[in-house]
Each structure stands twice: as structure tokens, then as C-alpha cells.
Symmetry: C3
């Protein structure tokens, strides 16, 4: 049904765009981590293609698009060259990483959910896999850079929630036969905007400290 | 042969139980690492489903059970909610992580070995994949938490050996046509008990320090 | 075409040799990291089979060779035993890790590229997957050991380039119908020799510091 509205070429263009912005984010982190040019290329490739690779392995789409579509492979190399020669001054890098990462997050949660559903997964699993597609590359990036994934850290602004919202919009659109380029775009922009707002206003998720803090305070009071 | 004795529903129930206890272990570690509620959920999902996901990708069972069975996906979320609201005081967390982890270890080495054999792997590979199923989630958990996997550390009590014993019992039972719910249960309990004993009495595996220590001592003596 | 010249048994022997030397490298790193005997075995297995496992999952060769060929599984255990009882004195370990790692790098970039092409990938993707096969095990090794992968670090001698050269030689030989045991061997030795030379003369790749350094210097000058 929605395949007629949401054409393969739109899917492909969105994928390339998502790959490019994620690759920029990976390459910028590699610069910040002081990696050499090959390390930058590897981190760009892994960040850009990692989420989609995980998705494709899980839905059984082998060989994954990352290894059959030359554009998917070359795009991160273009991003590497751009970052290598044009990267902003070091104090402005973190902002760039975050904004590009937010754009990739929005794009991939939508394309990931759509592709998973096209391969026959149920709606809940499609949304979960859309989330995995969106955050997988960034998690692999952070693991390779030997950092705690920013996805998991309490002191980072909301990251998973925007992707969950974007994937949920896609799933609801599928449920009500309303998925097309427009609604997909709305889902992308919503997730992207939510992530930007989360960064701007430092929205954070709660930790499970209540009981511990209470216990610690009781102990402190008792002493 | 053994499929008649070891029914799919028993397999499924054991899988759900293993997923639940591993998810508790992952969620408790996430609390100890100070992650937010989404980080807790992600670590619970990865710890619980990671080993089975690796197994399913390797035996070619795609999409993996983690993405086709809604119960597998929801169970770690239940564990997340439980841990988030009811987690024990922080000084008791490590004990909980270890005991639940031991239970998951016992369950998964048995179900992983069984499923790998059902998919046509030979006995040795089935046992190896049972071990990978049992320890894979915990290794992914530690890698995501940016810690050296406790599986590998010399200063941690025996972890792989109980799973190897459990997987070996299953393989021997298959070899002698004796695998059923009872013998599977024995394998689970044996692996679980061995792990608990290893923790209680601090059983550890030897390191390869003999020659180095000898060399160092000789050098020290010569001076 | 080239299958007649490059026989399965040669492919298999090269694979076993690559697995062995990579396993030695993984086991030696495990000794240096102070892991116990099971940690040594796990790191040997992962380092040796990780790259091929990634390759096989991506090209859809499941179950991967690592789980169907008993020799692939046992070889790292032999390496573990050798390292456990015979490992060199600790100050000489790093050299051993590097030389064995270089040999594995040369072997795997060739066999990985060849197998990927046999499974129908295009030439560029085959070379990329050959590189992934060659460096994948080492990256997994470093991630499990909780270190920044040496593949990415600027202060390490060229690592990816020798593998890229080796894979490119294989791809060019395929292109010109000239792949056989001799040319494959040349590719292996070229990659191995390049890596050894890179270590000997500390060849390094550039980082993207130009603009930042310039900016920093300008700022310093302005003050």
C-alpha cells in the first residue's frame, strides 16, 4: 500500500542523507579523539552504516545495503574528506557532532522502521528496529572510541526518546494507511526537532536514585 | 527425538525466564553505572537478548526470536520497571547482579546449546554456541558500560566454566538420547550452582604468570 | 575462473594459518592484560574468528565457517595452550603481538576479499570486506580488552593501509583474471611486509590538525 507513495528512490535518498550526516558526526568525533585519517574514515563508515548494518543482519537482508550499494560505501568517505580538510575549530566541534547526529537520528528512525516493516516484522518490532537503526551507529561509534555511549548516560540530554517518537509516528501511519513522503518527513522533522529541543533545554530522563538517596540520607541522619 | 520430550513451550518458558533474570542483572548494573531510565531499558534489553541475538544470527534464524516474539521484547521492559521502582539499596546491588546473572548463565547455556543443535550444528559447535549465548549478553552489557568484561578478568570468580559444564551436560545428553525437561533442568541447576559456589568460595582460574614471575624473580635475585 | 587455480584446500590452509597467528596475537594481549586462562581462550577465539565471523554474517554464509569447521574452533585453543605455557617474558610480548598480528593482517585481507567475491559481492565491496575481515578481529579484541582500537589511534604505525593494499592487489588480480596461489601469496607477503616496514620505520598517517593548529598558533601570536 504505502510502497506506492513512499517510493524506493525517496527511501534511498533519505538513507544517503542519513548516512552522510551520521558520517559527519562520526568523523568529527574521530577528530576530537585525535585519530588519524584512516581512523576518521573507519569511524565515519561505522557510525554511518552501523545502524543499518545491524538492521539488515537482523531482518535477513544480506548482503546488507552497505555492501551492495556503492553510494552507501562512498558517502562516508566523502564526509571524511570534507571533515579532514574543512573541520571547524576544535571548540566548535562538539556542537557540530550533536546537530548532525540529531539529523541522522531523525532520518534513520524513520527509514529503519519502514524497512523493517517491509521485511515482514510486526509493528512493535519494526519500531524497536527503527530505534536500533537510529542509535546503533552512534553506540558503535562510542564503543569504538572507548567511551560510555552517550545513549546511556544520565548526564546527556534525551536521545532515545526523539527516535522512539519518530518510529512511533511511522508505525501509527502504517497502522492507519497514512505513510507517505509527507508523513515520513513529518516524522523525521519531529524526531530531529525534539532532539534539538532536548539539547537546547537540557531535557533529561530520571534516574533510579530515589530509594538509594533516601537510604543514604537516613544513614547520614542517623549518624 | 528429544523434541518430543523437550517441548517448544518448555523451551519458550525457559527462554523467557533466562531473559528476565539477565534483564534484571543488566538493569541493576545500569543503576550502579548511574544511567537514566532509557539507559536502564537499553542495557536490560541488550543483556537479556544479546546472547540469543548472536546465536540466532549465527545459526541463520532471522529475524531473531528477539524481534518476532513480543514477549521476549517486553520482558526486559518489565524488568526495567521493577528495578527502576524497587531496586535494593545500593550496597546490595552487586549481590543481586551476580545471583541473577548466575541464573541467566545456567538457563542460557542450556537453551542456547539446544537451539543451536536443533538448527543443525554439530555437538562441539552447539556447546560453543551455548556458551556464547550464555555469556554474550553479559559481555555486550560490560562493553556498553565501558568496563572490561567480567568474563575475562582474572580477579573475578569462575564464570565461563559453569556455562561450559552446563553446555557439556546438554551435549552429552543429546549424544546419549537422554535430553528431556529433567536432564535439561539438571544442567541448568548444575551450571547455576557451580557459578554460585564459584562466587561463594572465590574459585578462580590460573593466569599465565609462572614464567614471567620466575623471570622477574631471577632478575631480582641476580641484582 | 580463478577457483580452479586457487583451490579450496589452499583457501582453507591460509584461513587456518591466519586464524592461528591472530589467535596468538589475541592470547598474548590477554596475557598482557592479566586475564585468566579462560579469558585468554576467549580473546584468542574472538581475535582469530571475529573478522571471518563478521564477513560470513555479512555475505550470508551461515552458519559461519567458525561454527562448522572444527579446525577453525580448535586452532585458537591450541594457540591458547601454547601461549599459556610458553609465552615469552613480558617485556618481549608486545613485539610478538605485533608481528603475529601483521601476519594475520596479510593473510586475512587476502582470504576475506577472495571469499566475499566468491559470494557475489562487487569488487569494491569485496575489498572493503577483505579489510573488515583483516581488522575486525583485532578491533573486537581491543574493544573486549577495553582499549581504543589500535586501528584508529594516530600514535600507532600504519595498520589499515597494508590491508587495503593487499585487498586491492587481490581485486586487481581478479579484474585481470590473474588470481592464483602465487599472486595471492604475493598479496599476503606485500601486506605483511608493508605492516612490518610501517612498524620498523614508524610510518604514520596524518591527522586533521592543520586548521586547528593554525588557529591555535594565530591565537597565540595575537596575544
Amino acid at each position: 500500500m504505502f510502497q506506492e507513495l513512499f517510493t524506493p528512490s525517496v527511501q534511498h535518498a533519505l538513507d544517503i542523507a542519513g548516512i552522510f550526516v551520521f558520517a559527519i558526526s562520526g568523523a568529527l568525533l574521530a577528530v576530537r579523539k585525535n585519530f588519524d585519517v584512516f581512523g576518521i574514515a573507519v569511524l565515519a563508515e561505522v557510525t554511518a552504516l552501523g545502524g543499518g548494518l545491524i538492521r539488515d543482519l537482523i531482518i535477513g537482508a544480506v548482503p546488507p545495503a552497505a555492501f551492495t550499494d556503492l553510494g552507501y560505501f562512498v558517502t562516508p568517505l566523502v564526509a571524511t574528506v570534507l571533515v579532514f580538510f574543512l573541520h571547524p575549530h576544535v571548540e566548535r566541534i562538539q556542537v557540530g557532532v550533536n546537530v548532525f547526529d540529531a539529523a541522522g537520528l531523525g532520518l534513520f528512525c524513520v527509514t529503519g522502521t519502514t524497512k523493517a516493516y517491509e521485511y515482514g516484522l510486526n509493528l512493535t518490532s519494526s519500531a524497536a528496529l527503527g530505534l536500533a537503526t537510529a542509535v546503533g551507529g552512534g553506540v558503535l561509534r562510542d564503543v569504538l572510541a572507548n567511551e560510555v555511549p552517550s545513549l546511556l548516560r544520565w548526564d546527556r540530554d534525551l536521545y532515545a526518546v526523539p527516535a522512539i517518537v519518530g518510529a512511533t509516528i511511522v508505525v501509527l501511519c502504517i497502522q492507519f494507511d497514512a505513510l507517505n513522503a509527507l508523513t515520513s518527513g513529518i516524522a523525521v522533522v519531529t524526531a530531529f526537532a525534539l532532539r534539538l529541543l532536548a539539547m537546547r533545554y537540557h531535557w533529561r530522563a530520571p534516574r533510579a536514585w530515589n530509594r538509594r538517596s533516601a537510604a543514604t540520607e537516613e544513614k547520614a541522619t542517623a549518624q
